[in-house]
């Protein structure tokens, strides 16, 4: 197998004095969809933020596209080809839908998805181009947050809780989008609370607890580990 596209080795991260990641190890290969599972506070969101360089101090290793990124600034990390969709969606209220969509600069030389293609994928956005970003419905905002990073040509997508709080029909649409992206060769890391959403999408799963990876499963191992998953995901 080729070298992983994303590899974390003994990744530690802090927010100020608070030590949130305690040696995370994981790897994601090109074209894979990988989900981070775990309870709230297990360190899944912090893992994505630490990959982007958005936590405070970090130590250990973050290797992206074969480059060590542990001491890179967030804008350099993004320009390696990483698209980040934050948990709170991060739609800018002072920007129109169109401005939100066009905000991230292209990170790949051969460009990303064309705007026309994005409108095929998310027709609602086209009609709302001039509305302020935060006047969109929750589902539309989530589509905008995903569409925005597809335009840049990023090959690795970090998607934090994209199904959270959305109507089932929109969650289904997002599921179709993820499958479509996978078939186009995108590499995707999902953080999901909605186990049923991610169970059908991901190739592999990392279960996190206490700021560490505690289990690693392939999709075909899910059924046999239902009791363990219950223990780490149940409340």
């Amino acid at each position: 197998m080729n070298a992983p596209l994303l590899e974390l080795k003994n990744l530690n991260a802090w927010y100020g004095e608070s030590h949130v990641l305690h040696g995370v190890n994981l790897e994601v290969h090109k074209g894979e969809v990988v989900t981070l599972l775990g309870r709230n506070g297990a360190g899944r969101t912090s893992t994505l933020r630490a990959i982007m360089g958005l936590t405070g101090k970090r130590s250990g290793s973050v290797s992206l596209f074969g480059q060590e990124a542990i001491s890179m600034a967030p804008h350099h990390i993004a320009r390696l080809g990483v698209g980040f969709c934050p948990e709170e969606r991060g739609i800018f209220a002072t920007l129109t839908t169109g401005e939100n969509l066009m905000l991230p600069p292209r990170v790949a030389k051969n460009g990303g998805m064309s705007v026309a293609h994005i409108f095929d994928m998310f027709p609602n956005l086209k009609e709302r181009l001039n509305s302020p970003g935060t006047k969109l419905s929750g589902g539309e905002q989530q589509m905008l947050a995903v569409a925005r990073i597809l335009r840049t040509g990023a090959q690795l997508l970090l998607l934090d809780e994209i199904s959270e709080g959305l109507a089932p029909v929109i969650v289904q649409t997002l599921g179709r989008v993820i499958r479509d992206l996978k078939s186009r060769g995108f590499t995707i890391v999902l953080v999901e609370q909605n186990f049923r959403f991610s169970a059908g999408l991901a190739d592999r799963f990392y279960v996190m607890d206490g700021g560490k990876v505690v289990h690693h499963l392939r999709q075909d191992e899910l059924a046999a580990n239902a009791t363990m998953l219950q223990e780490f995901l149940g409340v």
Partner: protein, 294 residues
């Protein structure tokens, strides 16, 4: 004679026009402050000192290098803006993780340093800067005689304010600036070099102050303390308009110039305090300012 509420019309109109001139300065200065505060969260107390340096650079360009007013209008903002870039990179940059109060204290200290240095070098009496030949003379408006230069100040300030507003609200660069103002770390995570943007924004805000200083030089004379009292008024303008609101700072700058002018007619004793009274009322009723976001 025509009167309005018992006050002679020419007096009212005359003060309104003078208020318009002052308001143009308030708008230009508060615009730079608002842009800086929006992105950097720094209350730039050195704004008045950069305004003063703009006036001095224009004066020195003239007597040392023979650069005329029009040249100074371009060069002085560039020179003072470059100084601002240096200040941001060397000093302000280290304070962003601390309480915003530290930025205020640092810039307050810088203002005192700049003013003290200029006073030591050039004394505290004002230096006359000549009105450029093309703008000498007067317009006879009937109710008053308006120096052409003051009309030019109004036109130039409003044009610059309008262009900056267009740049921020209607262009791609402005959208990036608005995004970084709203959420700097996420904007950076999209691949935008926010630290460089912060530096250039501070430089640009400072350059606007210096431009106001050049525009003021032929009116107020150039002196080390020309910005000291002005900056306090401009802070009140920014608070009234809403911290960080571009549109709010321009409109409230002009509006308060008018209000000040009218107060000079109605109750001259209050003309220097009226802006602060309005600020207190606005803070009580709408703490985010007239055009601020919650």
């Amino acid at each position: 004679m025509t009167t309005i509420f018992g006050y002679p019309l020419p007096v009212v109109l005359g003060q309104l026009v003078l208020g318009f001139v002052n308001g143009s300065f308030y708008a230009l200065l508060s615009l730079g402050l608002a842009v800086i505060f929006g992105l950097l969260r720094v209350v730039n107390f050195a704004h008045g000192a950069f305004y003063m340096l703009g006036g001095f650079v224009a004066h020195l360009l003239l007597i040392w290098f023979g650069v005329n007013y029009w040249g100074a209008l371009i060069l002085a903002p560039l020179i003072v803006g470059a100084l601002g870039v240096g200040v941001e990179r060397a000093l302000l940059r280290h304070l962003y993780t601390l309480d915003p109060l530290y930025g205020l204290l640092l810039t307050f200290g810088l203002a005192m340093m700049f003013e003290g240095f200029m006073q030591q070098q050039f004394g505290s009496s004002g230096i006359t800067y000549p009105v450029p030949a093309a703008l000498t003379g007067f317009y006879k408006l009937g109710f008053m005689v308006l120096p052409i230069y003051r009309a030019w100040v109004i036109v130039a300030s409003l044009t610059v304010c309008f262009l900056v507003w267009i740049l921020i609200e209607k262009t791609k660069l402005g959208a990036t600036l608005r995004a970084a103002t709203e959420n700097a770390s996420l904007t950076q995570a999209f691949g935008i070099n926010v630290p460089v943007m912060v530096t250039l924004t501070y430089g640009a805000g400072v350059a606007l102050a210096a431009l106001a200083g050049v525009l003021a030089a032929p009116i107020t004379q150039v002196s080390p303390h020309m910005g000291t009292s002005l900056v306090v008024v401009v802070f009140a303008v920014v608070v009234i308009g809403g911290m960080g609101s571009i549109f709010g700072s321009i409109i409230s700058g002009l509006m308060l110039g008018f209000v000040e002018g009218l107060t000079k007619v109605v109750y001259p004793e209050a003309s220097t305090t009226v802006i602060f009274v309005i600020m207190a009322i606005v803070l009580l009723i709408r703490p985010t300012g007239l055009f601020g976001r919650d």
